[in-house]
C-alpha cells in the first residue's frame, strides 16, 4: 500500500492537486459561498482520474505485483488525503476570516464556522459515495462519474445553503461565528465526519468489488 501511494504521488499526481489547495484563501473573502473553495477539490479528483485514464495508469498499476483491490484502495486513500488536506489547510483561514470579517456579514452563504466544516465533510462524503463506484464500474468513464456526483454535490449545496437562509431556526444555529455557538455546532461537525468516514469506506468497498470484474 505504501508503494502504491508512492506511485500515486510520483506518477499519477496532477498539478491541480496542489494548486487548488490555495483556494483555501477564498475563505478570507468577506461575502462568498465558501463551498466553492471545496468544490475545486472534487474537480482536482476528477483531473487525477482523467489523466490516469489518458496515461494508462490503471493498466500500468495492474501489471505490478499488487492485488487488484489494492489499486482501488490506494486511489481512495489518495482522494481522502486530498480532501482532508483541503479541510485542514482551510481551518487557519477560517479562523483568520472570523477575526477580520464581522460576524454575520456573509449574505452569500453560511459563515466559515465549525458547522460549515461538518457540512463540507458531508459534501465530500456524498461526492465519494457517488464518484468512486461510478468510475470503477468501468475504470474508464471519469466524465460520467463527475457529472453525476457533481450534480449531487451542487444539489447538496443548494439545499444546505437554502435551509440556512430560509429557516430561521437553522440560520440562528448554524450561520454564526459567535464563539459560544461554535461548541453547540460540534455535533454537526461530528456528524459530517462520521458520515464522511462511513460513506468513503462504503464507496471504496463497493468500488473494489466493481473493479474486480472490470476487463482492462
Amino acid at each position: 500500500m505504501k508503494n502504491l501511494l508512492y506511485k500515486e504521488f510520483k506518477l499519477a499526481k496532477h498539478p491541480t492537486m496542489f494548486l487548488f489547495l490555495a483556494f483555501a484563501l477564498m475563505l478570507l473573502i468577506p461575502s462568498y459561498p465558501y463551498y466553492v473553495a471545496f468544490i475545486y477539490t472534487c474537480l482536482a479528483v476528477f483531473f487525477v482520474f482523467l489523466t490516469g485514464r489518458e496515461t494508462k495508469d490503471v493498466v500500468f498499476t495492474a501489471l505490478l505485483p499488487v492485488a487488484k483491490g489494492d489499486i482501488v484502495r490506494a486511489r481512495c486513500v489518495l482522494v481522502v488525503l486530498m480532501e482532508l488536506a483541503q479541510v485542514l489547510i482551510s481551518v487557519p483561514f477560517a479562523i483568520l476570516s472570523v477575526r477580520i470579517n464581522p460576524n454575520g456579514c456573509n449574505p452569500a452563504g453560511i459563515e466559515a464556522n465549525v458547522a460549515f466544516f461538518g457540512l463540507v465533510l458531508g459534501m465530500y462524503a456524498l461526492f465519494n459515495l457517488l464518484f468512486f463506484p461510478i468510475f470503477y464500474r468501468t475504470a474508464y468513464n471519469a466524465g460520467r462519474a463527475l457529472l453525476i456526483s457533481g450534480l449531487a454535490v451542487m444539489l447538496y449545496i443548494v439545499v444546505a445553503e437554502g435551509l440556512v437562509l430560509a429557516v430561521p431556526l437553522i440560520n440562528a444555529y448554524l450561520d454564526t461565528t459567535a464563539a459560544s455557538a461554535q461548541l453547540r455546532q460540534l455535533p454537526v461537525l461530528a456528524a459530517g465526519g462520521g458520515l464522511y468516514v462511513l460513506a468513503t469506506w462504503a464507496a471504496c468497498r463497493k468500488s473494489v468489488r466493481l473493479f474486480e470484474k472490470v476487463d482492462l
Binding site: K10, L63, L64, L216
Partner: protein
C-alpha cells in the same frame, strides 16, 4: 517444472470468445504465441494476468494457482505489453523508481545494464521515445527483477531488424541457464523461426496447436502445382488452397504429400502455415 499452465480458459464477449484455451510452458524454453490480429492473443495474455476477468479456467504460475496468490505470482513475472505508453509526461527514471519498489528482487545493476544495452537515456520523458524505444524500456523494466517467466505481448513489433535480432539473442541468453521461460506473442513469425522451442497457435479464440516448433513445421508441407493437377487431386487433403491463373498452392499434411505426384513439395515457414491454416474453416 511448469512455469505457466493455462487450463480451460473461457471468456465471452459479444463479438468474440476465447474457447477452452489450454497450454503450458516448461522452464527453460521460449514459446511463440501466434495468431492473426484479433485472434485472442492479447486477451489470453490479459486473462493470464487477471487484467481481463475470465468466465472460466485456471492459471498456474510456477505451479501456484494465480487466483488467490496474485501478488506472489506476479513477483515471478516480467510483463511487457508492446505499444503501451504509460505516463507520457513522466521521466523514465521516475517510472523505474516506482517499479523497483514493488520487487524485492529488483537489481539496479541489471536495470542500468539494460538501459545501456538498449541505448536508453532515463532522463528522457516517455513521450520523447520512439515506438521501438518504448518497447525496449518496458522490456528493461520487465527484465530487471529476475523474473522466471516473461510474458511479452508483441515485443518485437515496431523494432528494426537489427534491434529484433539483438532481442532474439537476448531472449536466448535469458533462457540459457534453463531456469527462465519466455512466452511472447507476435505476428512477426520470422523471429520465432529462429529461437522458439514451442509454438502456440490461436485462431478465432481457439488453440489450434501448441507443440514443439520443429514438429509443427514437420507436420505440414507446401504443395504447389498446375491447375490440371488440382482438378484431379483429392482436395480433402489440401488445406487453404489458393488458386491463381497459372496454378495452385496449398498446405498438406506431410503424410499426404505422396498423393500429389508431380507437385512441387517444400517445407513451409511458420508464416505460410498461418496463412494457409487461417484460411481453412
Amino acid at each position: 517444472m511448469e512455469l505457466l499452465s493455462v487450463n480451460g480458459l473461457c471468456k465471452h464477449y459479444d463479438s468474440f470468445a476465447l474457447r477452452n484455451v489450454s497450454f503450458s510452458l516448461e522452464e527453460g524454453y521460449i514459446m511463440g504465441f501466434i495468431g492473426r490480429n484479433g485472434a485472442g492473443k492479447t486477451t489470453t495474455l490479459k486473462s493470464i494476468l487477471n487484467l481481463v476477468h475470465p468466465d472460466a479456467g485456471e492459471i498456474r504460475i510456477l505451479g501456484q494457482p494465480f487466483a488467490g496468490n496474485e501478488t506472489a505470482c506476479k513477483q515471478n513475472l516480467g510483463v511487457a505489453f508492446g505499444g503501451a505508453d504509460y505516463y507520457p509526461k513522466r521521466r523514465l527514471r521516475d517510472i523505474a523508481a516506482v517499479t523497483r519498489r514493488f520487487y524485492p528482487k529488483w537489481d539496479d545493476q541489471a536495470y542500468l545494464d539494460y538501459l545501456k544495452r538498449f541505448e536508453l537515456d532515463d532522463a528522457k520523458r516517455v513521450e520523447q521515445l520512439s515506438a521501438g524505444m518504448k518497447v525496449k524500456f518496458s522490456l528493461a523494466l520487465a527484465l530487471s527483477h529476475d523474473a522466471r517467466l516473461l510474458l511479452l505481448d508483441e515485443p518485437t513489433s515496431g523494432l528494426d531488424p537489427i534491434s529484433r535480432d539483438d532481442l532474439v539473442e537476448l531472449f536466448q541468453s535469458l533462457i540459457e541457464t534453463g531456469e527462465r521461460s519466455i512466452l511472447f506473442s507476435t505476428h512477426i513469425t520470422s523471429d520465432l523461426e529462429k529461437c522458439a522451442d514451442y509454438i502456440t497457435y490461436i485462431r478465432d479464440g481457439q488453440i489450434l496447436a501448441s507443440q514443439e516448433k520443429d514438429s509443427l513445421l514437420e507436420e505440414y508441407r507446401l504443395v504447389k502445382g498446375p491447375l490440371a493437377l488440382l482438378a484431379q487431386a483429392d482436395k480433402t487433403c489440401l488445406i487453404g488452397t489458393k488458386e491463381h491463373s497459372f496454378g495452385f498452392s496449398a498446405l498438406a499434411k506431410t503424410a499426404d504429400t505422396a498423393r500429389f505426384p508431380g507437385a512441387e513439395i517444400s517445407h513451409a515457414t511458420l508464416e505460410e502455415l498461418m496463412i494457409y491454416l487461417d484460411k481453412e474453416e
